[in-house]
């Protein structure tokens, strides 16, 4: 067991932190108010090489391990104040990982270079109006007509969809089967006839992130655009969710560390009753708890990432880390807001935004309730 972050990883972390602080942290309050996606910052991230971390060099990737990718995304979550942008970047990388793991050489050659560079924006569409937690109960159909598939259905809440060039769509190819063998996965270009996306939805937090609906009407897709074999959807879903839950947790852990730092600084500087408020245990205990939660999360996160680097399953680990970090983040943001008092409630100090942003973390990529269900099931309960 080696707990050291090596110098190569440190160099990447240091560069990401200084890049984010210099280039990504302006205008966020305004962007949040107007729910604007900061495309100019996305382009800077693409120049920096952020999207290419875990991919093979032949596609323009940087060939970094998943653990290193997680460390980089943690650094980004820590230093980029726009959690919506960070979430969008993570989604992009996850779509690439999915394609790299299960796509044919043809699809990888065609799409991975654009995903790696960030020139092609990617989304992943699973959720529907009637199937959220019960994702595999989806109704969107893909019916084979000799060579091609015809897709019909509507997807909801899809991250990046309003701005995406490519969407990975999960659809039912076998109406009879329940889950295994029922679902297949396709990659669709935005200008495919019958592919219609709606404008971004207004949200409570992560307001720069663009989430929207996707309507597929008699949308014809070549069989060669299928990712994996027919009916492999449930397997692709459970495997890629492990990567997604770990990487999203890396970003959220970074944010939690940032909130911890803010809480320490503020509680030291703010004086009431002639002393710093950090001298009151009611305040310092909240901060100590945040610190414990950060350190626990790191251990779980790095272990889960290592498992993926060794091509092992991490169902239990990815559910545990997703559950823990999202709940801790929500709690830390609420406590940090309390520590900041009325200042924390004001838009300018940005804590209120972090609090709003954190709420979605226990909903997306599996709700906390569902993760406890998964853990319980894996424990044989």
């Amino acid at each position: 067991m080696d707990f050291d972050i090596n110098t190569d990883q440190q160099n990447l972390i240091k560069t990401i932190k200084s890049f984010a602080q210099k280039e990504l942290n302006n205008n966020i309050i305004d962007d949040d108010k107007s729910s604007r996606f900061p495309m100019e910052k996305w382009k800077k991230c693409h120049k920096m090489g952020l999207f290419s971390l875990p991919f093979p060099e032949k596609y323009g990737g940087l060939n970094q391990s998943f653990l290193t990718t997680c460390l980089c995304i943690q650094a980004l979550g820590f230093s980029c104040k726009d959690s919506g942008l960070v979430h969008s970047i993570v989604t992009q990388i996850i779509c690439g990982i999915q394609l790299n793991l299960f796509g044919s050489d043809l699809l990888k050659d065609k799409y991975l270079p654009g995903i790696c560079s960030g020139e092609t924006i990617c989304a992943q569409a699973i959720t529907e109006a009637d199937s959220g937690s019960d994702a595999l109960a989806m109704k969107t159909k893909a019916i084979k007509n000799t060579e091609n598939y015809i897709l019909n259905g509507t997807k909801m809440f899809i991250t990046n969809e309003p701005i995406a060039d490519l969407t990975i769509v999960f659809a039912r190819t076998n109406p009879e089967a329940k889950s295994f063998g029922a679902i297949s996965v396709f990659i669709l270009e935005k200008d495919t006839p019958g592919f219609e996306k709606c404008k971004a939805m207004e949200k409570m937090g992560l307001r720069t992130l663009q989430n929207g609906e996707l309507v597929l009407t008699e949308c014809e897709v070549k069989a060669s655009s299928r990712i994996g074999t027919e009916g492999q959807g449930a397997i692709i879903f459970s495997e890629s969710m492990e990567w997604e839950r770990i990487l999203l947790s890396a970003a959220n852990l970074g944010k939690m560390e940032h909130v911890l730092d803010l809480s320490i600084t503020y509680s030291k500087n703010r004086k009431q009753f002639d002393q710093s408020i950090c001298k009151y245990q009611a305040i310092s205990n909240k901060i100590s708890k945040m610190k414990v939660q950060c350190e626990l999360s790191k251990l779980m996160l790095y272990k889960a990432a290592e498992l993926k680097d060794h091509q092992k399953r991490a169902s239990m680990e990815s559910s545990m880390i997703k559950y823990a970090v999202s709940e801790y983040l929500k709690e830390s943001c609420a406590n940090s807001l309390q520590i900041h008092g009325a200042n924390g409630y004001m838009t300018e100090t940005e804590i209120e935004r972090y609090f709003r942003d954190s709420i979605a973390s226990t909903i997306y990529s599996g709700t906390s309730e569902m993760h406890l269900n998964i853990i319980g099931k894996l424990l044989g309960l």
């Binding site: 160099n11 990447l12 560069t15 940087l62």
Partner: protein, 265 residues
Amino acid sequence: MLINIFIKQVPESIDIEMDAKTHTLCRESIAYQTNPFDLFALEEGLLLKEKYGGKTRVLSMGPPQAVKALEESLSMGADDAYLLSDPLFSGADTYATSYTLSSVLKLIGIGDLILVGKQATDGDTGQVGPELAEHLKITHVTNVRSIKEIINGKKVIISKMTEKGTALLEVELPALLTITKTDKEPRTPTLRDIVQSKRKFIDIFDSKRLKIDTMKTGLKGSPTKVIKTFKPEYTSEGRIFPMSDSISLSILLKELQKKQENNVE
């Protein structure tokens, strides 16, 4: 163009401990960075290479961990890197340092232009650059703010900071320039630059490879003897004038006038 750029790893903070015996820095447990002026020198070098072609080499003398500073320079775009490292080089003053630095260029070639930072934030002497030029018997100019143009690979037009303003100079190559803070921010490497720079090689020279007279290096070769080092005590304190605004303002003005008169005397 062949451009040699010298860089030094220095402590990140000025709040550092000195070794009571050797009067040098306690190097353990300090966070390091590349000397900020050196990064401006490197940026100038990289811009010249982009404009005129050629090669940039970064060189540093220091303990083995100084490779980190060289790696950073490589990721920013330098082509080759050299580390001069030997226990016999440690504790060097500016004379021994510049002698050691000159010896490597005598081996690998002095090129067309040598760039160094105006001074290092730890020693703050500003002497190593000019001394290096003297060892190499070439022209040097200090406090250069901007490198304007290279003419036919033979001359360089520069602007230099003087006490009264700036001076525009034409200097014959090869020459050594010490670079001050310019308006060209040192570049941030991309993640790709960092990953790819790992493939570049850092050539390490010890005293044997340098074929150097070790009586002239390190603490032994340093004519400067540090007798004592101490942390400066900050004695001046802010003063508070606890009166109404207009009264305190007039007292403050008088105090300032008195101070100015004292300074003139």
